[in-house]
Amino acid sequence: MDRTSRLWGRRALVGSLVMAAVISLGVLVASATQPAPLEVASAVPASGTGNEHDHDHDHASILDHDGRFSGPGDVWPPEPRDATGVQPLDFSDEEAPTDAVLVAPDQPDEVLVDDAGPLAIAETSDWVLAELGDDYNLISASDNELLGDGKDDSGPVGAKLVFFSIARNQTVEVAVSGGAVISVDVAAASVQQPPLSEKEKYTAVEIARAHWAAVGDERLPLLDGYAILDIEADGSYHESRVAYVSFHPDPEARPELLTWIDLTTNSVLDAEVDR
């Protein structure tokens, strides 16, 4: 039996253990799933050092650390080797919020949404609500996208919002332009799912953490959880929203606790101690 079929066979058994350990809404997304801070890249010229060329290419995709880029253990992202005249690009002037949606980074409990913004328009549209139902997550939003079908710029410009509806068990993509919803596309969970949102990651990690706490695993306080969208072994999507959560002592350590979470029912499908 492969991992997936075994996983679904145990779904009902394990799921009931941690149903109660679910998250209250209105919480800032946890740092448990945030990427480690990027190190500031610094190029270290090494002129006068020979480049070596007898590296093992049995694993050719491991980039030769004596090649173009700095090697493992150096900075992340990898830096071009022997680079000189390095000048960081400034993107700061491209990160300013637009007027479409307001932001309150220091007040995460307050919801500040532009009443005339695309999200507010979508969430007050009967067309959209019919597909979302009363339980859904916003996965992502983009503003000022070309909404037409072709390559030219003649189509409408507006916002795209991607939701996953738990109530309807489907992906819902909404286009908003000119102050109105202009299209709503849906795909069943088994056909198409977007990546996990930060909220879903947080929820999945907390359910998994509650499970391992109930089991009494003493390592748990020392481990960080990471969630990723899980799919079937044949590459297709699950019938519902499933996350795989692995717990690691640090971001660069191997996983020690493995957990599969059904985000539709907020339950544990399977859990293993890695050996």
Binding site: V29, P35, L38, S47, G48, T49, G50, H53, D54, H57, D58, S61, I62, L63, D64, G67, F69, W76, P77, P78, P80, R81, T84, G85, Q87, P88, L89, D90, F91, E94, T98, V101, L102, V103, P108, V111, V113, L119, Y136, N137, L138, I139, S140, A141, S142, D143, E145, K151, D153, V157, Q192, P195, I228, L229, I231, G235, Y244, S246, R254, P255
Partner: protein
């Protein structure tokens, strides 16, 4: 220009959400001849995309992006996964400009975290028309052997969306793929893939990363390279990003449709064994070279009537001719490449020739895919001037070597010493090639190269054995032994160090043989500007930029100074990000010669707007 923002969702949670480009407000980013728009779409999840990419005014890509990286585990013991970048947890964009091997580059990237995977995708744009789409990945989601398959999507509109042909190198030439196809990358001989506009002649050659793009002598094993796939597809508006689960091939099947608007998908291959650990990063990518056709009128390099001939031979390190090598001919303009005039290929003996009008020209030799020229570059540029009726049969080049494993670097012995001028001063930037020695002491396989540092020192870490070292004098200079090349033989035992392999360049002496080049960078109002980077390159007498020698930055008063050996140089000033020099460019290139040791030229200045 791109905008990114945080969005507070109206469902009780604060979510980090990216917001894409505003098409009506887009202001293209520029770098040397490149122009492009940056986008991280909040709905396509195709990572960092570059839109409307042009080079020297010619359209190259409508969009290049990374719709997914699919991950498969041994025996399906974990995963698979569909890793979509640019969702709610990415960091960036970030980037920088830098000089590597004498070429100025700009990088733009993002990093995303998907589960325990940390994934960085970066585009590198080179001043010479190179474009490199790269992927780095680390992390270990499960303790099981697995493989990552990143899928790049390239909507190629070379000189517009019409007339783009995919050419696949075959034994006797190239095969045009006019209909949709799905092929292993190895279906092109020597990995020779190319897109060409059949009307304009503009070309985009496509090489795939074997981990050693800029290094000769190594070739990825065919057994692994065959894992890389190339897909030619007709553009369809509903196939612009990934729309399904984890597959090993692109979701969008080949329908045998004639391609009139080309989209090229490329999937790379990155295996990861658990014993390698989670902190080892993997990488793969695609390097492309834009080669724009000229207007064909020969302007900029002509001069005088009458015909002349330019040619010679392309050989490998063993001296054997190399057939099928492409050489592009450009008119020389302002010391650099002007209009493209045509190309030629070497015959079975490795020889080639151009019959052309008298004048000055630039030849660009393009190494076969997966190989490089001595010195490490895939592209080698040579300048030549010919008079009417004259034949110049001296423009020869040598490929880096045969590759393979064993011998060479990484061992427990070392070879090195110093390159000096006749006055004993170290000379920086001299390239030293290292070859394994054959049994008779002749040059064998190319092993690597090094450039001397500021003190003229160089070194190789090698395995015990015998080697041939070839010192290459900077353009316009010779060694005291005579000639531009100085070849020496050395053997080292295990654990031994031979620090006696030196070379002496003619000239210098008296005052160290150096000269002074410098001045000041100011604003148009007159104040000095600190922190401006200035690159120094060797130059030939016509002012063509040669080997990169080093760089410096202006001090608090805006002053700078180089003290190289007597000779001719190209000085390149690089304006701080977001600024330009008078005239509107971010780069200010100047040619200067100081031929007498101890001489000074303190008038090489630049003015920022």
């Amino acid at each position: 220009m791109t905008r990114f923002m945080m969005l507070v969702a109206g469902i009780g949670l604060m979510l980090a959400v990216s917001v894409g480009t505003a098409p009506e407000e887009a202001e293209a980013e520029t770098f040397f001849g490149w122009s492009y728009d940056v986008e991280v779409s909040g709905s396509r999840f195709d990572g960092l995309a570059l839109n409307n990419v042009t080079y020297e005014g010619t359209k190259i890509f409508e969009r290049i992006s990374l719709p997914t990286m699919n991950v498969f585990y041994q025996n399906n013991a974990c995963g698979p996964y569909v890793d979509r970048l640019g969702g709610s947890s990415y960091t960036g964009p970030f980037g920088e400009e830098f000089t590597q091997n004498g070429v100025r580059w700009r990088s733009i990237g993002i990093t995303d975290q998907i589960g325990n995977y940390v994934i960085t995708m970066i585009y590198y744009l080179g001043e010479n028309g190179e474009f490199d789409a790269h992927m780095f990945s680390r992390g270990l989601q499960c303790n099981i052997w697995h493989e990552h398959l990143p899928f790049w999507r390239m909507d190629i509109d070379l000189a517009g969306q019409d007339n783009d042909q995919v050419l696949r190198a075959t034994g006797g030439g190239s095969q045009v793929e006019s209909r949709e196809f799905s092929l292993a990358a190895t279906a092109a001989q020597n990995h020779g893939w190319e897109v060409r506009d059949s009307v304009t002649g503009d070309r985009l050659t496509i090489a795939f990363d074997d981990g050693t793009f800029s290094l000769p002598g190594t070739v990825i094993p065919e057994t692994q390279y065959a894992q890389n796939m190339v897909y030619g597809r007709q553009y369809r508006s509903n196939e612009t990003t990934w729309q399904g689960g984890a597959t090993r091939n692109t979701l969008f099947g080949a329908n045998n449709e004639t391609i009139t608007d080309l989209v090229l998908w490329y999937s790379g291959y990155m295996p990861h064994a658990p014993e390698e650990g989670p902190d080892l990063w993997h990488s793969t990518g695609i390097r492309m070279q834009v080669e724009l056709a000229g207007d064909g009128d020969g302007d900029g390099g002509g001069g005088g009537g009458g015909q002349a001939t330019i040619g010679d031979r392309v050989t490998n390190a063993s001296g054997a001719g190399v057939s099928g090598v492409t050489i592009d001919l450009f008119a020389e303009a302002n010391g650099g490449r002007g209009a493209w005039l045509g190309d030629a290929r070497t015959n079975a003996n490795g020889t080639y020739s151009f019959n052309t009008a008298a004048g000055c020209y630039v030849l660009v030799f393009i190494a076969p895919s997966g190989q490089t020229w001595q010195g490490g570059s895939q592209y080698l540029q040579r300048s030549v001037c010919v008079n009417a009726g004259e034949t110049d049969n001296s423009v020869d080049v040598v490929l880096g070597g045969g590759g393979g494993s064993g011998g060479g670097g990484g061992g427990d012995a070392s070879i090195g010493d110093r390159v000096t001028d006749s006055g004993g001063s170290g000379v920086a930037g001299v390239v030293v090639d290292l070859f394994a020695a054959n049994g008779d002491g002749s040059r064998g396989r190319w092993v690597g190269d090094a450039a001397t540092d500021g003190g003229g020192r160089y070194g190789f870490d090698v395995d015990a054995g015998c080697y041939v070292l070839v010192f290459i004098a900077p353009q316009g200079r010779t060694f005291t032994t005579g000639g531009q090349y100085n070849q020496q033989f050395a053997c080292v035992a295990a654990g031994a160090t031979d620090n006696s392999v030196d070379a002496v360049l003619s000239g210098g002496g008296g005052g160290g043989g150096t000269v002074t080049i410098g001045d000041r960078v100011t604003r148009s109002g007159g104040g000095g500007v600190p922190g401006v980077t200035i690159d120094l390159f060797n130059a030939d007498g016509s002012g063509t930029r040669g080997t990169w020698l080093g760089d410096t930055t202006t001090n608090a008063s805006g002053n700078y100074q180089f003290q190289p050996p007597a000779g001719c140089y190209v000085v390149v000033f690089i304006a701080p990000s977001g600024q330009t020099f008078v005239g509107g460019s971010r780069w200010n290139q100047q040619f200067v010669c100081v031929n007498s040791a101890g001489g000074t030229n303190n008038s090489v200045d630049a003015v920022l707007t």
